[in-house]
């Protein structure tokens, strides 16, 4: 088990380096150097010497790969550079945004599981029943309706027509950050974001549950007179949940990608909103910093899922690889 986790973590490190290198190189291709941006103002009035000086200061005269290594070294020390726009350290821009994004993405993942897994189990237990059709319809809604359109409809219904829920921000006032206010503000963005994952998880649960319920061990348990509830949940669902875990792992990037849009619509003060502001403002050091954090969130999420997988599947737990 330990070896298995170490191996997965090793792959995660490689993938992490790959992602950051990729984005770093892409950003270095940007027309117009960050030095010009930092000097600011009217470009025609700035002497090329001044730009060259700032470039040297920033180490931008070195080859991209050397710059990347230097940047990576700084990141490992917790130094993500300075925002070109606000002149504040990038890390100070990012840290306060991390919690809102985690709250939004984690709660929506949990909600989508709570909706999708039971529906998937019922659909697989009674295929082609009314429940099966209802859940297929719901799955389709999630995969075919973009989350921003769902968000707009939700705002239209719950905030405009029946003035029930707030549509923007995380708390009613910044002075009064209580949990009740948070929950009320969380409902709409969380619903919009979770619906997009319901489809995939539901289909996978239904598929693997159907397969599990046809397993020999299910027939054996039934023949031995094990109660139906125990057969379905203890023997069926437990086996069916493994592929579901894989699906969630694969969906993490989409959940975070969806959060970018959802946060923007609901003015949720997370990494996604910061990302869009930085993209519009071409604040590359912040963009780079956010990429690091998003990649880290996805990779850590994947490792947690791998560990759950290992815990749930004795074949992995006991293997020595």
């Amino acid at each position: 088990m330990t070896k298995y986790i170490i191996k997965r973590a090793g792959i995660a490190v490689v993938v992490f380096l790959g992602i950051t290198l990729l984005v770093y190189v892409l950003i270095s291709l940007t027309p117009g150097s960050p030095a010009e941006m930092m000097v600011g103002g009217d470009l025609s009035k700035i002497s090329p010497e001044k730009v060259a000086e700032v470039e040297k200061q920033l180490g931008l005269d070195k080859p991209v790969f050397v710059q990347y290594i230097k940047w990576l070294g700084n990141v490992l020390k917790g130094d993500f550079g300075t925002s070109y726009k606000t002149s504040k350290p990038v890390i100070d821009e990012i840290i306060p945004r991390l919690k809102p994004t985690l709250i939004l993405t984690i709660t929506s993942t949990i909600i989508s599981l709570l909706i999708a897994v039971p529906l998937g189990v019922v659909s697989a237990y009674k295929p082609y029943s009314a429940w099966d059709y209802i859940s297929s319809a719901l799955a389709f809604l999630g995969t075919s309706v973009p989350n921003f359109f769902i968000s707009l409809i939700l705002i239209f219904i719950f905030a405009v027509k029946i003035k029930l829920l707030p549509v923007s921000g995380m708390y009613a006032t910044s002075a009064n950050q209580n949990i009740g206010s948070l929950i009320v503000h969380l409902i709409l963005p969380m619903t919009a974001l979770s619906l997009q994952s319901v489809g995939g998880i539901l289909r996978q649960t239904r598929g693997s549950m159907l397969e599990a319920l046809h397993g020999d061990y299910i027939r054996t348990s039934r023949a031995l007179g094990v109660s139906e509830v125990r057969v379905v949940f203890r023997h069926g669902l437990r086996n069916a949940l493994l592929p579901v875990l894989t699906v969630i792992g694969g969906r993490l990037p989409f959940i975070i990608g969806g959060a970018v849009i959802t946060e923007q619509i609901f003015s949720w003060p997370g990494l996604g909103s910061l990302m869009v502001t930085s993209i519009t403002g071409r604040d590359y050091s912040v963009i780079m910093g956010i990429t690091v954090f998003i990649a880290a969130v996805v990779l850590i999420g994947n490792i947690i899922i791998d560990i759950c997988y290992g815990l749930a599947d004795p074949r992995i737990r006991q293997s020595r690889t």
Binding site: I11, V14, V15, G18, I19, L22, V23, L26, I27, L29, T30, P31, F140, T143, S144, V145, P146, F148, F149, L152, I153, I155, F156, V160, V167, G207, G250, P253, F254, I256, G257, G258, V260, I261, Q264, I265, M275, V276, S278, I279, T280, R282, Y284, I287, I290, T291, I294, A295, V298, L299, N302
Partner: protein
């Protein structure tokens, strides 16, 4: 002999597809939609990018069937024009993804070794970082334009095809006819094209269908954020962007609902059609 068998397989698949009611309805919807966005502008001669001269937020009327938007442009003309762009981006970028991903998957699965390691690790990297985030970074670097969007969405879509083809190739490579082809000394390229490629076409075709829907959703998401198709050119996503204004959202439903409905109908029809094709070809792949 071989040709006859192939014909009957395709015929069989078509027959099964025709029985799939939802898929046939979806196909009809899509064909009608493509015809509408292509042909209707010939009859409905309203400039989608110019003020229609009836004021801002004009209610739907006989002259302007879906009314006008926040700057007085005809909404129907914009939904049609946006539809052309969204469908074009969806279709072309999916082709790019397929053209990139299929050969890479073939090579990784057939030659294994270093190719396999590099290509498969690359797919992991690309699948870990949210496509949305990478697209935003690319849009920030190069200013957004329609060709750029097609290129970005297309290039970033290669991983799905590569993984799909890779796993199909692994399965097919073990088959006896591939081994015997290798034994009689057929060249690798010939084996790949003649014996392996035909076996992976079915799952690729299914993926391609779903890929178009995915690409349309990605484009509309970017355009919705204002970072995709740029004004004045309409796209379903950037039309919906206007509904982020709470007044438009609550009082001028005709400005945004039509584009949203068009988007949902298109994406669901493509997905239903994809489902139908999958059932008709009845492969063992799971998506």
């Amino acid at each position: 002999m071989a040709k006859e068998k192939k014909d009957s397989y395709l015929k069989d698949a078509f027959r099964r597809l025709k029985r799939h009611k939802l898929a046939m309805i979806s196909l009809a919807v899509l064909i009608i939609e493509v015809l509408i966005v292509l042909i209707m502008p010939l009859f409905y001669k309203v400039d989608p990018n110019a003020n229609a001269g009836v004021g801002f937020y004009a209610k739907p009327s006989a002259q302007h069937l879906l009314g006008t938007d926040q700057v007085g442009r005809d909404v129907l003309a914009r939904v049609l024009s946006g539809g052309r762009i969204s469908l074009l981006i969806g279709f072309l970028s999916s082709i790019i993804s397929m053209v990139l991903g299929v050969p890479l998957g073939l090579v990784a699965g057939y030659y294994k070794g270093a190719f396999e390691q590099i290509i498969m690790r690359l797919t992991e990297i690309f699948q870990t970082i949210p496509t949305m985030v990478l697209m935003l970074v690319l849009v920030a670097i190069f200013s957004p334009s329609v060709p750029l969007l097609i290129a970005i969405i297309g290039v970033l879509g290669w991983t799905g095809y590569a993984r799909l083809v890779y796993s199909s190739v692994l399965a097919v490579s073990q088959k006896e006819y591939v081994e015997s082809a290798r034994a009689i000394g057929e060249k690798d390229r010939r084996i790949l094209v003649k014996y392996i490629l035909p076996n992976v076409i079915t799952p690729v075709l299914i993926s391609f269908t779903f890929g178009i829907a995915g690409a349309i959703l990605e484009e509309s998401g970017l355009s919705f954020l204002g970072l995709g198709v740029q004004m004045p050119q309409a796209s379903w996503g950037n039309i919906l962007n206007s509904a982020r204004n709470i007044t438009v959202l609550s009082a001028y439903a005709w400005c945004w609902i039509p584009a949203g409905v068009a988007l949902v109908i298109t994406v669901s029809a493509i997905n239903f059609l994809g489902d139908g094709i999958r059932d008709a070809l009845d492969t063992s792949i799971k998506i």
